[in-house]
Symmetry: D2
Subunit: 478 residues, 4 copies
């Protein structure tokens, strides 16, 4: 869940962003609430973060912002927080692949345009960003970042010229951009939340006294003691102004395509997304695994932290006792750099150690959320065997990754996916496991309690939106 260990990273997936917005109609300061909210969303992005605030009662369009590379508690401190005066604001946490990791690309994007200032925070990936950038450049646009948010901002700015208000401009812009976006836009007097019609990424509404909150996940509402109001619907635009909240659902479609992997891995288990408890989804994933891939074993363990809930589900269904198989070192931090002279020690050992007492002499069911390249899984199986496990039965609470994701996560290209090039049997052998079972793709809908519309393209290859034609990476490197 974090890019802790260089070796380790290669086998972990990353969400690309989390967003948080708040508008206190009664005029209270909001920077510290955004700070707390971003802490709760830190798992969605550990590379950079930022906060932009404004005062709806102050001079129009004065935005104060602070952004930087690093974790929330590295970028913010009492001094810079206390400068962020305002009763409306938006925050962002970000992960990105290395190339575009730079301070220019931090969010929220803060800008001036014809109607004053805007601040944007965006979670997701547009699939037609290159085409849109190309089109825009032929009208004289310049791009100072390599993030999609800049493309969205341009469209809002241009639409705003011919629309009566910013929410209409957002709507018109949404009719041009394609792909995944959960978006929070702060204008001088309004806070707008919008979600793409497929609803790839989550976005929820909360309320605390006179303040409305928008956030990627409900866990961020809990962090600021806000009550959950409802999810922003896929395709919906909500506009929070001095008079309260308004909704435009005219872009909503029949059947959205929520990212199923949010439930399996990305989101925090204490969050509820589109009415579904992430915790329950994972319990269910574990139960299905136990049904489809039962095995004789003495203990079920989860690979921390993400495998633990599914392991409990497996245990509940199979009757095999749940155990704590691993100790995770929580002090490793965001980055781990191997010493130059190091040869022997494996970096996976820095992060995890097996509880010998739990697995020694046992037949172990090991639950993990996914296998990307397979390197980490192989090491963990080996650690379990070294600790005395008689058998290791690997169960994965998702189907095999076969296709890249273009909607806001970093599932790598096919040739790096172990499941793309190998059968389950071959993978099992490569891991050194005694058996291997993946979640059956046919049963994914059970994770979200009925097929209310989800995206499983990374497993099935069925993309709800056409993939981008070219690589969407920018061509300069700051």
């Amino acid at each position: 869940m974090d890019n802790v260990v260089s070796e380790f990273i290669s086998d972990e997936l990353h969400e690309e962003c989390g967003v948080f917005g708040i508008y206190d109609l009664a005029g209270g300061e909001v920077a510290s609430s955004i700070y707390y909210g971003l802490f709760a969303l830190q798992h969605r992005g550990q590379e950079s973060c930022g906060i932009a605030v404004s005062d709806t009662n102050g001079p129009k369009g004065v935005v104060k912002s602070c952004k930087g590379m690093g974790l929330v508690n590295e970028v913010f401190n009492p001094d810079n927080l206390s400068n962020l005066h305002g009763n409306i604001g938006v925050g962002h946490v970000r992960y990105s692949t290395a190339g575009a990791s730079s301070v220019e690309n931090t969010q929220p994007l803060v800008l001036n345009y014809v109607k004053g200032t805007l601040a944007l925070a965006h979670n997701g990936n547009l699939t037609n960003a290159p085409e849109l950038k190309n089109e825009l450049s032929y009208t004289g646009a310049i791009f100072q970042t390599t993030i999609d948010s800049e493309v969205i901002a341009y469209h809002i700015a241009r639409e705003r010229l011919n629309t009566p208000n910013v929410e209409s401009a957002v709507k018109n812009a949404m009719m041009k951009i394609k792909g995944a976006y959960s978006l929070i836009v702060m204008s001088p007097r309004k806070l707008i939340g919008a979600r793409d019609p497929f609803g790839f990424r989550p976005l929820v509404i909360g309320k605390r006294d006179n303040a409305y909150v928008l956030a990627s996940e409900t866990c961020a509402l809990d962090a600021v003691s806000a009550e959950f109001v409802r999810d922003v619907q896929p395709g919906e635009i909500v506009t929070i102004g001095a008079d309260g909240i308004e909704s435009d659902t005219s872009l909503c479609i029949q059947k959205p395509a929520r990212c199923i992997f949010e439930y399996i891995y990305f989101a925090r288990p204490d969050s509820y997304l589109d009415g579904v408890s992430v915790y329950n989804s994972r319990i269910m994933a574990g139960k299905i695994l136990a049904q489809m891939h039962p095995c004789e074993a003495d203990i079920v363990v989860g690979v921390p932290d993400s495998g633990n809930v599914a392991a409990m589900g497996f245990s509940l269904e199979s009757g095999i006792p749940y155990g704590m198989g691993f100790i995770k070192n929580s002090y490793v931090g965001r980055t781990f750099i191997k010493p130059k002279q190091s040869v022997r020690e494996s970096s996976v050992k820095i992060k995890l150690n097996v509880l010998k007492e739990v697995v020694n002499g046992k037949r172990v069911v090991m639950i993990d959320d996914s296998i990307v390249r397979g390197t980490t899984s192989e090491r963990i199986v080996r650690m379990l065997k070294t600790a005395g496990a008689k058998e290791v039965h690997v169960r994965i609470s998702s189907p095999p990754f076969l296709n890249p994701c273009y909607f806001g996560t970093d599932v790598p290209s096919c040739d790096q996916l172990i499941a793309h090039n190998n059968t389950v049997e071959e993978i099992c052998k490569m891991l050194g496991a005694d058996s291997l079972g993946y979640l059956d793709g046919e049963r994914l809908s059970e994770l979200i309690a009925g097929d209310s519309g989800y995206c499983d393209a990374c497993f099935s290859g069925r993309y709800p939106v056409d993939p981008p034609q070219d690589d969407i990476r920018g061509d300069y490197d700051k």
Copy 2:
């Protein structure tokens, strides 16, 4: 386990140190192994850390060291690690109370004396340090730190004048110092491990190819792929030299007094201390709680991370299902500073969130390792109730704290201990809990599988060594 949140801190206990030493008889570099070992011991001290190394084949007594305030991954980087050339070395992680938290007090202590150089790493607290400092000062000694290690170093240096080798000097020094110490001493050609006769703090021996390792806990041996050889016995001095390992047990006594709280809280569950699995100790603590303080309930949850294993033990014994009641935010980091403008948000929420799905509508048994002042426990009980728990039955896997510790932990003075001033019934009410049960002090020996000698002074008031006469805090503040 970490001093994360300022409010939170007040209700957590801290170990005061972890030590790690290694001597590669074949001449290999050891700095990176010490670095990995300190990572695994980080839970024993997050305030400062350091490494000192030497080359037993190089010019006699050249020690290279690097120390600093902060976590292992904050203080060390590839550059400073690559400067630490040598095949023998010692490392240290440290926690201290605020007053003496300074770079002068970081360890290992590196010094020159009559026979060249010494480096010392020390876990524990001497009870006669003030008297010894006083005595030493009357012979013209000067003290540049406020750590006991300096007192130990002086005694070794003075004894060395009349002893044939450094291990004899260590032994003679041990006859003068009183209290708790697990000590690693690096001389130009030897690595020495020593443990006070009561064995308050742990110290283990490991081996990897031609290298001997000394460490506070076995989890550090795992981290460097060393095999566990045995524990250093209470009172034993082991000397690792070019010819291998030698032992002097002449200071060993009949019945040691190992800190029982290492098993309950301080040590990592994957460690084995003096032949006992910490994990098993905690499972047993949970089982005893279930026997002594049973209750009708629907789910058992542990306060993460330290309450989880005992919660499993309670579940195993009681048959009440184990559940994951909380999500812990692992990104909060070592320090958390509340924003100045913050009024509403409780900092405990930054670190923990309740899994509503698990506790809503349930009668909950909540297991924690201890209650110090009670403030954190009260908040967590309230969070559970807010999340819908019908009842909250608090079970504590240790007896009530009634007395301060003088042997290397920071159990505060009596007047701050909730149990010192209140009955169990009163505490239960203060916590807002529906029932409260502590581990029975009489059954503590079961945690370590028979009374092989342990210290429970913080619970019982039976101090194996006389407490210090004065406060041992130094009187200058760097």
Copy 3:
């Protein structure tokens, strides 16, 4: 010349930028030369700096850049410099007023547009930036910074749509922008230097083997061992491509308006600007002062560092011996923060001390380059008297400041200018001086050896270009 001391700052003027560009036609690396060049231009801006480089033989339009707040030796280090591979590049040092001091506003501005990448470094201030931003915003432009360079970049990008090459686009853009600009533009295959038709700010051309260099001042050529070729003429565009250097002078005008204060204060004395030695200009200023405002005195001293050369000129003309009246503490650094508890010590004393031996019992002529608010001058006069000076005759090597500057310096608004509100006699009294003489505005042309066209608007109020209609400060604050 540097914003050293908070109190002190208020009475110093600041240049707003320095630029440096280089294109090595033979393909050699240029980052280190830019680094050395920026060091030599550091006096033109100490707030932030940046370097952007590209490889004309590599994939088209890949730009690597590094920017940051602080001095050149604070922002750059061997690691980040060694990542800046390329044989063409541009660098920038910047000063700005506090409000817009942020990392977003650092230069060079690096961007993508229809033809790939551009990097811009700009010295000066546009006077029609607000109007242009307004116009652009009505075509949907968004602004992520508050620097004029972004406006220039937009115009180049838009003009590029209808022009055959980037230099034509620069030219067309120049026909729209008004005010002061010395500009270096790096396109994938060309380095372009341009200077506004009035030539407010300097720009010179140098050459070293196969490399062409553009820089604000010749002292930067010296720093990289390049030979001075010639000045870029006011209004000229020079284009350095694979085939060498080309010039377009079609925008040149009859009579430019070079900033006379570059000679008096901003530029380094070892630089030659538009054929005139800055050193000679200052010597001449001192001589004119001696002619116009002679006095009986024993010694002439300059306020370091900027008053020293004019003091020599005064001495040469008057025959009164030149002396070193002050010691300047060169260790104070860029920023000086007064301790909270400080009451007594004046911060001016941190930076300067009087050489008693030189002034005690003497009638002193004290030469400074200008008086802005008068606070610093008053303190320095007092220091001289305290050190025993019998008389202090202040001579200022520029006319009185009466009007703000809109062309790239920070001469403050009228109400803060001591000369705007007081007669020379009154100022003399306020300073505690025995006499006061300013340089006569009529004789300014002698500083540059004949009236080849200069701007003295800050003294005379004769603006060569209409001042901006509104305040040009941006309205958001990052």
Copy 4:
């Protein structure tokens, strides 16, 4: 004067320390005055600095200190200064050779001993430190630093056992230590200043209202608006207590040996040392040079900053006009690291540029304070010639360096001294100069207005105290 440029460093000499102490009898805070005082002494040491303060009315012996690597304005900030409460304190700036440059060696040394706390700041070098350390170690002493101050502290601590007060202990200690030391000792209730009997290093007394000040140079008194009272005499001990200042001169000797190079180079020209103006000393050095080594020339220039005053003296005596031959870049800072890819640019160019206008076509007399290895001088001569100087006549305001210094400066060993291995004629040729003249050693006494006792061992080889028998560098490397 600062270790700016790696190449450059090799040819500059360094003072090894500056000290500052203050005791406000009226109880006022002193930390900010120490801060200002250290700023004024920064030229005496740029590697590390520190402040220790105490409250003479507070609990006895509570010392607060803050030390660190770097310049005064890098180590101190309003936060850490505001924690340094107290009305008595001592500060230190330090330079050292690379090996022992570490945070352990920063001063003031703060320690506990039999009578409470002591803080020591020391300028100079003991010549018998190795023997004393050896002796001490045979009584069981341990050494945690490699600085002489620790040896002095041990002796004071030991003597204190048998003396009625700390000043007597200092005196007894002084009878054992040999070499150069200007020392400030802070005990809980007294501030003591002591100077070795030869008075190698300066130490002055100042007064401001109710506060007494001790400092290395008078320029530090000016910085805190204190009036100069008198110099501490060589061999004198002054004790400032609640009742004022007392003096013990019983260790004073007939003829001291003040370091003559303080006047020539180390001290600031605005300081007065032992009754002599440093400025006047340098003017005199220039005059003597003009008398002894006259030449036909058009202009006299000084190598900044240290050569400027002597250049004025030369001009005064010879009648050849004084000119500003060089521009020094004051933004280079303390450290300059050459970029890895740099090949061409000479680092001396970063720091200095020639004013062509001044030297072109002229016969130039170039005054510098000394030549150590000759590398820098050679480059500067070359720069002058490249700038068009017809002739360059080098005049050095000190005699040739022939011997190392053991009394607190870093004159290197003989084999690195150009004058040790070459005749003046040879050196002249190596420098590429047209003539070369050194100050005549016979006339050194004129610099300090009569032979009141000075040390010129680095020139003459006449050491007032026997040089140390062994190298005094410590043998461990932190």
